[in-house]
Symmetry: C2
Subunit: 209 residues, 2 copies
C-alpha cells in the first residue's frame, strides 16, 4: 500500500495552517496553465457515486466580471442595510472579497441533472452532489496554496443572477465563486491558534460511548 | 510569505491520487488519539464568516453503531427496490459502506443555529455553513491519508434518524457519516486516469471570455 511518512505529514500540516481565505491579491497575471492544473487536481476528488457533478467556468470576459462584482456589491449592501443592524459599521469596514484585484475568477457549479453514477448515494441525501463539488474545491484550494497561489471564496452573491451572468444551464447550482491569485500576505488559518493548545473551542467533539 | 516547493507539490499530488473513498477496512484498532488529531486538523479549515459551524460526534457505543448500520441497510434496500430498477442487481453487488468493519465511526454535522460570525456570508447562500463543514471533512480526509488511514463517506442514511440515534440537537444537520480505519488496499482516486492524459472528461471547463 502507498504509505506516507512523518516528514510529509509535517509539510501537509504547514499547508493547512497557511491555507486561509484570501481577500487581498496582487494584480500580477496568473502563472500559465494554472487554472487547468488546478481543475485537473480538483477532478481527482472523491464524489458521490463517482458522479463527478462538478462544472467549472473560468470567467475572463471583463463585462461578466464586472457584472459579478456589481452583484457582490448589491448583495453586500443589502446585508448591511437589513441584516446586520448595529454591527453594520464594523461589517462595512471589512474587506469581504478580492473580486476587483484577483487576476483569476472561477465559478464552480454542481450539475443537479448529472446522470453519471445513476443517483447512487444521492437518494436520501441529494445534497451529496453539492458536497462533492465542495470536495473538489478543497483539493484545488490546497493545490493552489502549494503553488503559492491563494483562493478567496465569495458567497455574498445571488446564485440565480450569477447563473444568468455566466449563461450556464438551469440545472447548474452555484457552489462557489473563487478569486484566484497571488496573496499579498501569507493566508494563515484563523483556526490555527488551536494547534498550540487544545482543540479549538468550536471544534470540541462529542462522544457517544 | 510562507512558500512551498516543487517537492511538496509532487508529494501533495501523490496524496490526492491515493485519496479515494474506502469501503474495505482492516479491523485493527485505530492509532491512539487519531480522532483528536484529525478533528484538530479539520478545525484549521476556512469557514464562512469564520463561523466554524462544524460539530463532531465520535460514535463508540455499540448499540448506536448497530442502529446506524441498520439505518444504512434499510435505506440501501429501499433504494434498491424503488430507485434503481433494472440496475438493481448490479447495485446490490456493490460494497457501499465499511460500517461493519471500520474501527472508527465519526458523524459530522453543521449547526444551523450557529451564531459565531453573526451570519456573515450566509445571507444569500445559507448553505455556505454546510459547505464549511465539507471543507473540514476534506482537510481531515487528506490528513488521515497522510497517517495511512482511510475514510469512507456514507450518504445512504436517513439524516433525521441519524440525529435521533446520536441524540444531537435539532439544529444540527447531518453532513457526513464517516468510517475511519486502515484500508485493506491503497484507496486510489477513481479520477486519477485523468492525470496521465487530458483533464478528465467530466472535469472539462467552460470559459467565458
Amino acid at each position: 500500500m502507498v504509505s506516507f511518512d512523518e516528514k510529509l505529514r509535517r509539510q501537509l500540516q504547514k499547508v493547512f495552517v497557511c491555507c486561509g481565505d484570501v481577500r487581498r491579491f496582487r494584480t500580477d497575471p496568473l502563472p500559465p496553465d494554472i487554472m487547468e492544473r488546478l481543475i485537473k487536481t480538483a477532478c481527482l476528488s472523491p464524489s458521490v457515486g463517482l458522479s463527478q457533478p462538478w462544472r467549472f467556468v473560468v470567467v475572463e470576459d471583463k463585462e461578466r466580471r464586472r457584472a459579478v462584482t456589481e452583484d457582490f456589491a448589491a448583495c453586500n449592501t443589502n446585508a448591511l442595510l437589513s441584516d446586520f443592524g448595529e454591527r453594520a459599521a464594523r461589517y462595512a469596514a471589512l474587506k469581504l472579497s478580492g473580486l476587483e484585484d484577483a487576476p483569476g475568477h472561477l465559478a464552480l457549479f454542481a450539475d443537479k441533472a448529472c446522470e453519471t453514477g445513476h443517483g447512487l448515494g444521492r437518494v436520501t441525501m441529494p445534497e451529496a452532489s453539492e458536497y462533492s463539488v465542495v470536495a473538489a474545491i478543497c483539493s484545488m484550494w490546497l493545490a493552489a496554496r502549494a503553488e503559492n497561489i491563494g483562493l478567496g471564496w465569495v458567497s455574498i452573491l445571488n446564485p440565480t443572477r450569477i447563473r444568468e451572468i455566466l449563461d450556464v444551464p438551469e440545472s447548474w447550482r452555484l457552489i462557489s465563486y473563487l478569486c484566484v491569485g497571488t496573496p499579498r500576505q501569507s493566508p494563515m488559518s484563523r483556526g490555527s491558534k488551536g494547534l498550540s493548545g487544545n482543540i479549538a473551542e468550536d471544534g470540541e467533539f462529542t462522544s457517544r460511548r
